[in-house]
Amino acid sequence: MKKEIGVVFIFLSITALLAGSFFGCISAFQFVFPGFFDLLPFFKNRPIHVSFTVSWIFLSAIGGIYYYLPKYCGLPLFSRKMAVVHIWMFIITGFLIISSYLFGKFGGREYWEFPPILAIPIFVSWVIFTFNFFKTVLKKVGQWPVYMWMWSTGVCFFLMTFTESYLWVLPHFRNNIILELTVQWKAGGSLVGSWNMLVYGTALFVMERIKGDQSLSRSNLAFWMYLLGLTNLMFGWAHHIYNVPTAPWIRYLSYVISMSELLILSKIIWNWRKSLEQAKKDFYFLPFRFLVASDIWIFLNIVLAILISIPAVNAYTHGTHITVAHSMGSAIGINTMILLASVLFIITDVTKFEFAGTQKTIIRIGFWLTNISLLVFLTFLVIAGAEKGKLIVENKLVFQEIMQQIDPYLVSFAWSGLFIFIGLLMTTIPPLLAIIQYLKKKD
């Protein structure tokens, strides 16, 4: 493993993305066709899908940071050995987690469904990463670009919120479901915010490199937008638990903070107005194309997030497929598009390899197939969720009756998921082959 350590992370991240979307497809079909692929039942399959998907996000974001710091920020890694230990711990823990699911050993916490003992190596590997990261970036203090603030925040807050999400092992938290659910979703909401910081920092970095415009990440406005995002990370999580009987101020605080996302929305629209012509010119460049797509998904997801943060709307949408649309839209539309831009940027940079005409065509078709299928996928989830909410609140129907009525939408959702997988395959196979060739080369 003498090659760029960041590239090894990127290689693993692409395999995790493909595995995550493959198991996601199986889960979706199991959801609508009970009995489908019973060898791996839904309650085992779903956590496998989630774990691979979360791994894709972390591996690609971390791989980017390991690659960009020495190569472009003039900050050689404090310790390459620590990065190697980090990746081996990631691989071994990942193997243990998937094995635990296959053998039916669970911790039963949504998204971290593995036995709690496996949280220890994750925590330790992140401490190693945190130490290595700060020993590297603190060599150069002063006017940091915003992406450096974002990466630093993401690294620290992951450690904090991941620890917080395990407070349930203490009886004080475990034996009060109101406290426990609240802390779980407080930690979970902020934890997603922490990986978003890593991802959005990456987006800003790549955009700065593509445009060659350093002011993008050094302006006061960029810093204010970062602070706004951080405020939402810290206080905007309670829309997950509006119907949990906590003190009302928890809901009101979150509601008010969530509405500040309207400012982010305005900023996106303002940017589009200014940069549409330039975007048309740069669209041929593959990483830029993925960043443009992520911008559109950010816009749509913020609209959805703002809507479901209004308690009166949330009463209809909570616990419906609209929540799934929100999380899938963020994971695929925003995070995956940004991280694919970063992955393509790194691969073309490190291999000095310009994709051939056919490969470019395959990636472009994959790009459009993924995005169009995602639009169909999310549309059916939103329709299914809206219908479910109406049937619960207004028609007071029970679960089985509701599922019968929304089944056609869910079948369409499952099929469009398959097309997302095919699109991702087409997008990632050429870069994956390029990276394998690079890793095979002797130093």
Partner: protein, 146 residues
């Protein structure tokens, strides 16, 4: 485009101010915001054990509590008191499974613990919320509360 006139010291000040507010918020969330659970008397030893079993069998992958969890099966928050449901219904489903739900072949003691846990959850609140009034500011007033 705004200029980069803000000093690093000022940026740090904003960051740390937010962080201190975050810590204060966490303190109140952990204490006065959530500590009042009037249903504690229903949290028997069996219910505590049932909670761990609920996690060990990854029930949350398919079911929800307070609308949080998977979508394969129904929300179980009030399954013990819902019309036509209740303890016998729950025990029968756990012991036999359905087309969508596997039969986990649990011993009688585990089934009892799980129902005790669901009974405790049922006493803590209501989900999904069906009866509410919408206020002008976009908040809601729940009509039926435990």
């Amino acid at each position: 485009m705004s200029t980069n006139s803000m000093s690093t010291g000022l940026k740090r000040f904003f960051f740390w101010s937010l962080f201190i507010l975050f810590v204060i918020d966490a303190y109140f969330v952990y204490t006065s915001g959530t500590e009042n659970d009037p249903s504690q008397s229903f949290l028997t030893e069996g219910a505590k054990n049932g909670k761990l079993l609920f996690q060990e069998h990854n029930c949350i992958s398919c079911h929800q509590l307070y609308g949080l969890g998977g979508y394969m099966g129904p929300d179980l928050t009030n399954v013990m008191s819902a019309p036509g449901k209740g303890e016998i219904y729950v025990k029968t489903l756990i012991q036999n499974g359905t087309q969508r739900m596997p039969n986990l072949h649990l011993p009688e003691s585990d089934v009892k613990a799980l129902t005790e846990y669901l009974n405790y959850v049922d006493k803590t609140g209501i989900s999904p919320v069906r009866n509410f009034e919408i206020n002008l500011d976009g908040t809601i007033t729940q009509k039926d509360v435990r």
